[in-house]
Symmetry: C2
Subunit: 523 residues, 2 copies
């Protein structure tokens, strides 16, 4: 008696096949419906569709993705086959390329050998153990959950062949002059490791088979069958997703309207009565001009040396400048860039998103802009806009900005794991100083361009910004990526504090012999 338990992949070893005539019949309906659905998804403009093909060589990842392109309008489909990371890609956190390749809303992405590929092969070739594989699966889950929460439809197909069928398939390809290029030595190597391959696949599938991003295991032996399974699964998922998205949209809008009644600019009136850490800053701190100049000269000299060292060590540096309007972010940035080689840094002013940016997940434009090793990017405003201006102005719904804190922590974790030196500043001024500076700008012809109606409106929301900054600091000032608060009523003081902090942080990271201060609570 055979009492072996059944393995998940056996659900895709049933010898299923579809006759040519049935395939033609079902294909005809399917093509029309997929095309219609693709158009509906585009018209709704709400949610990119992310399709991932993984599985054994010869299982039909390529032909299925080609067929989807044939069935639908390929102008709105991006098909990406990932291979070994390019230099560009290797110099960024691993997920950089998957973020970079995110399609805009309304479009479809098909990815082959994507985010599941490396964990799978690393486990098969025993470069990582089960715990590490699980960690990588959690990272993938975070990525998929983040996108699904933003409305993406995520489908993953595992193309399966059993060992014998795979062998036959590889042999058949090898003997076919037109297609033998498809079989590489590595495919045979992997076939030799077939058993370990399916064990790895089982781990990955069972750890990443979430409601937000389910796997479908596809029996890959019969072409007609597998094409229909892929196409019909996609059709059903798109149908349901379109319905979900339209309900969800109206749910979010209703919710925000109701919450707006409870809150003032995203801040509950009761809770905002609490004191904030930014209020507790001593804004009377100041420097005499002569002190300022001598300290500046010394710090800039140190900075130049340290930055050069960091560049030679191939370190990636990211500076985040956030703060109230007219608090001196721009001036501080110039003091830093003044003394470093223009080929090694870039200032990224972050304004309202462009149409291209707006049509993707809000983190996309920041992922895209991560510098490579040996470079520094200064973000003049940043991803923290999600929990500052977007929260206060209602550009992000309450659910969106509330989950952003953990999305941001995850984003920064990935930078830090890659060795990035991340330094974050919050520039703060008193309400009075802000008003004075606005008035001064108004009265100085060459500064007037800097002042907009929006500035005046933001001035009225001063308290809301202070409170949002307080919550942001509470939730994102981690030991590995802490905020430094810059008292900027006196611009000279603020600039020196920034220069000094950057020097100290760089010293800590690139190994200068300065005594290091411990970051401590209550100190």
């Amino acid at each position: 008696m055979n009492v072996k338990p059944v393995f998940m992949f056996q659900t895709a070893e049933l010898g299923q096949s579809v006759s040519k005539s049935e395939f033609k019949k079902r294909q005809k309906t399917l093509r029309k419906e997929l095309l219609d659905l693709q158009r509906d998804v585009r018209d709704a403009g709400l949610s990119p569709v992310l399709i991932d093909f993984a599985g054994v060589s010869g299982g039909g990842k390529g032909t299925s993705s080609n067929l989807l392109n044939k069935w639908m309008d390929p102008r709105w489909i991006h098909t990406i086959g990932y291979s070994e990371p390019s230099t560009e890609e290797r110099q960024r956190p691993e997920f950089w390329r998957y973020w970079r390749d995110l399609p805009p809303r309304g479009q479809i992405n098909i990815s082959l050998s994507g985010r599941y590929h490396r964990p799978l092969l690393d486990f098969v070739h025993e470069r990582i153990d089960e715990d590490q594989l699980e960690h990588l699966c959690e990272r993938i889950n975070h990525f998929e959950t983040t996108l699904a929460a933003d409305g993406a439809l995520i489908l993953k197909f595992w193309m399966h062949l059993n060992r014998d069928v795979q062998e036959k398939r590889l042999n058949k390809l090898k003997d076919d002059p037109l297609r033998q290029w498809k079989v590489k030595p590595v495919d045979w190597e992997n076939w030799e490791l077939y058993d370990r391959f399916v064990v790895a696949a089982e781990h990955i599938i069972s750890h990443t088979n979430t409601g937000d991003a389910p796997w479908t295991i596809v029996e890959g032996e019969d072409f007609n069958h597998r094409h229909l399974v892929v196409g019909e699964t996609l059709r059903e998922a798109m149908q349901i997703h379109l319905k979900k998205t339209s309900f969800r949209q109206s749910y979010l809008e209703q919710l925000d309207a109701e919450v707006a009644e409870l809150n003032d600019h995203g801040i509950s009136s009761a809770v905002s009565r609490q004191a904030t850490i930014v209020e507790s800053l001593d804004l009377s701190l100041s420097l005499e001009k002569s002190d300022y100049e001598s300290q500046r000269d010394e710090l800039q000299a140190r900075l130049a040396v340290l930055h050069g060292k960091a560049v030679r060590q191939g370190r990636t540096i990211v500076l985040v400048l956030e703060g109230l309007d007219a608090a001196g972010k721009g001036g501080s940035a110039r003091q830093i860039t003044d003394v470093i080689d223009a080929r090694t840094y870039k200032v990224q002013p972050i304004a309202a998103p462009t149409q291209e940016e707006h049509s993707r997940h809000y983190l996309w434009r920041f992922w895209k802009r991560l510098p490579r090793p040996g470079f520094m990017t200064i973000f003049d405003r940043s991803w923290y806009g999600r929990v500052l201006v977007e929260r206060i102005e209602g550009f992000a719904s309450i659910e969106e900005w509330q989950r952003a804190y953990s999305e941001i922590n995850d984003f920064e974790d990935q930078m830090l794991e890659e060795g990035t030196i991340l330094i974050k500043f919050w520039f703060h001024v008193s309400k009075e100083t802000q008003l004075e500076r606005f008035k001064a700008r108004e009265n100085t012809p060459h500064k007037r361009w800097k002042l907009t109606d929006e500035d005046w409106r933001n001035h009225e929301k001063y308290d809301a910004y202070a409170f949002a900054a307080h919550e942001m600091i509470q939730r994102t000032s981690t030991l590995s990526a802490p905020w430094t608060l810059v008292e900027s009523d006196d611009k000279l003081y603020g600039r020196i504090k920034v220069l000094d902090t950057v020097c100290k942080m760089l010293e800590k990271a690139v190994g200068e012999s300065e005594p290091k201060g411990q970051i401590k609570s209550g100190a």
Copy 2:
């Protein structure tokens, strides 16, 4: 110049206080509103509220939870202070006690020293490293996400004191004859480790501060201030949650109505045309009565020995019997229990949930029933009902049953980690055999009670059940917790297969010297 970055806990070291008169004034409004909200949450009957207090000793976890009980109606609040696990608790997976203590919908749970306590102290006392801490945080995130997806409101308060204030607080308590019992030697030990304590807390908070279950760091120095922060944060969260829940409910209902149009009994008609693994079973397999009897006798004898061994080794055994109606689950269970000591097992027939069960997360009733070491529980139907009957009958919404696969995998992972021997069976019969057995029941007076109208209805849904079982096997037949499919058209064959499988699995687990078969795909 102080250029230290700011640490998240400094947002709760601002010296905030609230005067007695202001406290009285705000408390008055707050109490009334909290009471009203508590009643609204109860009336809506939708979502339990889970409040967790964590933080430093002396930070006010106890007094704040007492005050919430005073402000609201304590009949609908369960306050639980966790301490070292009891014997009962130590014998189950770690999260068993948190599942057991879940309140029914409409009620409020306040937990002190709960799920965050052990990871925190284990890290402080260097019993676990950062990677392990992160793993524990992910487990907590899964727990919270699972409950939040089910509609729970989850709030977590970290009560903070800085080092000096904590010292003063502990000294003051020590000198107060009425309250000195509150300070234990371990509190002073932890105070000595204050710095490591806040580092651990920072890791935990930043890894578990999700949109579904956010942390609020509360400045614990001034009693009035901290009480108001806790109360007012709770008020705001309940207000928003009530709105969310009512929208969400109608969203799910609308969605299900629309999806029902696409699907027949939870199964899309196009996709269900695929073959299923259960159809591929050879249901002609059968045994002669004499063969059956001799094999049964031998297997039962082996089972008795192996089970005794497992009991003496203190192993936990969980058997899951799922399958089509009239496929012989009950008879198989009896064959197992016939030969083992009645004090060491329990058969749990799972029918429609009771009111008590229905008012909680669907996994609650299974968590509650997990056996302790040295015991076996046979679940006659199980948590898989979520993706079988609940899916097909529409008792679970599409989002609910779709995410259940990963919730179930997570649940079983926790059992397996604890060393449970988990054996899962799917009993399958042909449509014809099922019909024959129903008819036989109808015509046999002493079996007629077994047959209900529901059975006839389920018979009509035979194909839907087969397809749901196929998908269940595809998504939950993992290497560590695989399904065994039981061909049961011949009951004798089915029973022997079950006995044989249980023996082989027990041998593998308790170390009998039988040659072990490898579970392999394609075998």
